[in-house]
């Protein structure tokens, strides 16, 4: 579906290493990604899968002990991995590519008014007068759903609720009309009802302002709601990617199976929920074969020996698992996630547990 379009951002074989005391940790182990204009690409993974680190390379925000050791990130004909100083990044970070982080309190300065924090960004990137910046700021505050924005312009972050603060962070991120918005777990610190509102807001704004979104989350439930395409990350690599329907209804990688199966929404009372045993691999070590193999009940012997390549499932769907090799035994995905759509339809339909009038 997306093959004819040219990507707006293209990452190729990105490798990121962190120096921790005397040792090197390979956080990203050769990840490639083409991002197409206007889409929402969701990156799902557990903590330490590298999902956040990977997107930080798009804005040059790696921690100081981190380094891109291989690969390229092309954006408007420019290789972002070659940019070093803050001056190089000017005009890209916060302007063309913006980020919304998990905790709104750490992104906002507690001792400055909400208004001044938005206008600062506008003035910095757009070279407009103070009055004009203020007008734009109030405008964007209204857009993200702040009622009575003009009056709340001079309030401080502590006077806002958690959900409202996250709206402001989104307002700041969008104030310079970025082409790409990176949402790094924007709702993890928020309550479920607020989460639903923020997700809805991002979706509506995207339709209106036509930016491209990268949505990072550990929650597959959220992915189903926001994404057009999905990449599943594990152990510093994308192990499967495809359209959102393909990932939910035709998953191929045992890790994607396991992630989907462990969702509590699919639990049946009186029966055990499925889960993944063990812990993610230590990225300090050299990883041999498939990183997921030690936790994978369906692992083949070759998974411990050799890293699988990406196998093509469809034009848009690829998975990095030996199970797709013609020599591998045929394996059906776990029972819990078979006929997923039917199951969920039943749950949300009339008389189902999650049916809402």
């Amino acid at each position: 579906m997306a093959e004819e379009r040219t990507p707006i951002l293209s990452a190729k074989d990105v490798e990121v290493k962190f120096r921790v005391r005397d040792r090197y940790l390979t956080a990203i182990r050769g990840v490639s990604l083409d991002l197409y204009e206007g889409e929402t690409f969701a990156i799902v993974g557990e903590s330490a899968s590298g999902k956040s680190v990977f997107t930080k390379t798009f804005t040059g925000m790696l921690e100081s002990n981190g380094e891109i050791t291989n690969g390229s990130v092309m954006f408007h004909g420019q290789d972002l991995t070659k940019l070093k100083t803050d001056k190089d990044w000017e005009g890209i970070r916060g302007a063309k590519i913006s980020t919304v982080f998990q905790d709104p309190m750490t992104s906002l300065n507690p001792i400055r008014t909400i208004g001044s924090q938005i206008t600062e960004v506008i003035e910095k990137h757009q070279k407009v007068s103070k009055a004009e910046a203020k007008e734009q700021a109030i405008n964007i505050m209204e857009r993200v759903g702040i009622v009575n924005a003009a009056n709340r312009f001079d309030e401080y972050p502590f006077q806002y609720s958690g959900g409202m603060r996250q709206r402001i962070v989104i307002a700041i991120a969008l104030s310079c009309h970025p082409e790409i918005l990176i949402c790094d777990e924007p709702t993890t610190a928020l309550d479920v009802t607020i989460q639903a509102q923020i997700i809805g807001l991002i979706r509506d704004l995207q339709k209106e302002l036509k930016f491209t979104t990268i949505y990072i989350t550990h929650d597959l439930g959220v992915v189903a709601n926001v994404a057009d395409r999905v990449g599943v990350m594990y152990g510093g690599q994308i192990v499967e990617y495809g359209t959102v329907e393909e990932i939910f209804f035709e998953p191929q990688h045992p890790y994607t199976w396991a992630l989907l199966s462990s969702l509590p929404q699919l639990g049946v009372k009186g029966q055990e929920l499925s889960f993944i045993t063990g812990t993610p691999p230590s990225l300090f070590n050299q990883i041999k074969g498939d990183a997921f193999a030690p936790r994978n009940p369906h692992a083949l012997k070759i998974d411990f020996e050799q890293e699988p390549p990406f196998f093509k499932v469809s034009d848009t769907h690829y998975a990095k698992t030996w199970l797709l090799d013609p020599r591998a035994p045929k394996l059906e995905k776990p029972e819990v996630i078979q006929d997923l759509h039917k199951k969920i339809e039943k749950m949300t339909g009339k008389g189902g547990a999650f049916h809402v009038e």
């Binding site: 639903a196 597959l220 439930g221 994404a227 329907e245 396991a258 509590p264 929404q265 812990t279 809402v356």
Partner: protein, 324 residues
Amino acid sequence: MSNNEDREVILSIKHVDISFDTGNKKKKFVAVKDANFDIYKGETFALVGESGSGKTTLGRAILRINPCSAGEIIFEGKRISGKISREEDRNVVRNIQMIFQDPAASLNERATIEYCVSEGLLNFHLYKDEADRIAKVDKALTDVGLLPEHKSRYPHEFSGGQRQRVGIARAMIMDPKFIVADEPISALDVSIRAQVLNLMNKLKAEKHLTYLFIAHDLSVVRFIADRIAVIHLGEIVEIADSETLFKYPLHPYTVSLLSAVPMPDPIVERTRRHKVYDPSVLDNSGAPRQMYEIRPGHFVYATEKERAQYEEKALAAEQAQGEA
């Protein structure tokens, strides 16, 4: 549903208010208002609410960490809130244990797992000799799927899921009757949450425990709870058994919480809309609210006027169900 009368009540919360001093002497911050419910022996009772709803405050009041400013808490027929004797206090500690939200913060990082797990045993001298203590620690660790060899390790050497299981082992070794589990899985990675839930269910069956399970997310609770209470801004707005609450949610806040659960299905999600909770649909005339039992075992916090609406809604839902 209605056989609740003949079940044994293990803990009852009777019209409990909990308030905190603010900087201002005249103003008190009321975290929990008029909480009133019973928990039956052997059930998992879930308390669901968002941050600031007072759910943790109420859970901690049961453990005597937060004092009640009105009402009382009765455990096995004895009052455990307010001033009680030292002996009674020790009794509460032995019988009511807690599982904490953040396994990283709730374990003493400078103590070995052996000490963490046997802390309660040491305090009450619940062992014959050293060998017996070690045997008990080993048993507690194996019960939660850890290995006896972990005894000499420190908490920071474990993953989040393993640490949470240490926290569970530490509570279980006391052989409690009642456990307050305060969001035991929300700090964990999605893939291992299910493991901890399974473990809690297994231990409950083996040891005949009763759980108060505090959560912010209805999707988790559906799987584990027998009955659910929904709490919003310090008020318990609805109590029902798990199936009923999901099938016939009456209070608009419950409906909003339910609609906010994201479903793992992109096609369904495209049409599903989140219902934002709008308090203006309530009866805002200032009439007093109380708990009404709309159907047996199904309580809603309402005014007289709202009660009539909920009755109608329940009836309509039942008819619709009958047709289908």
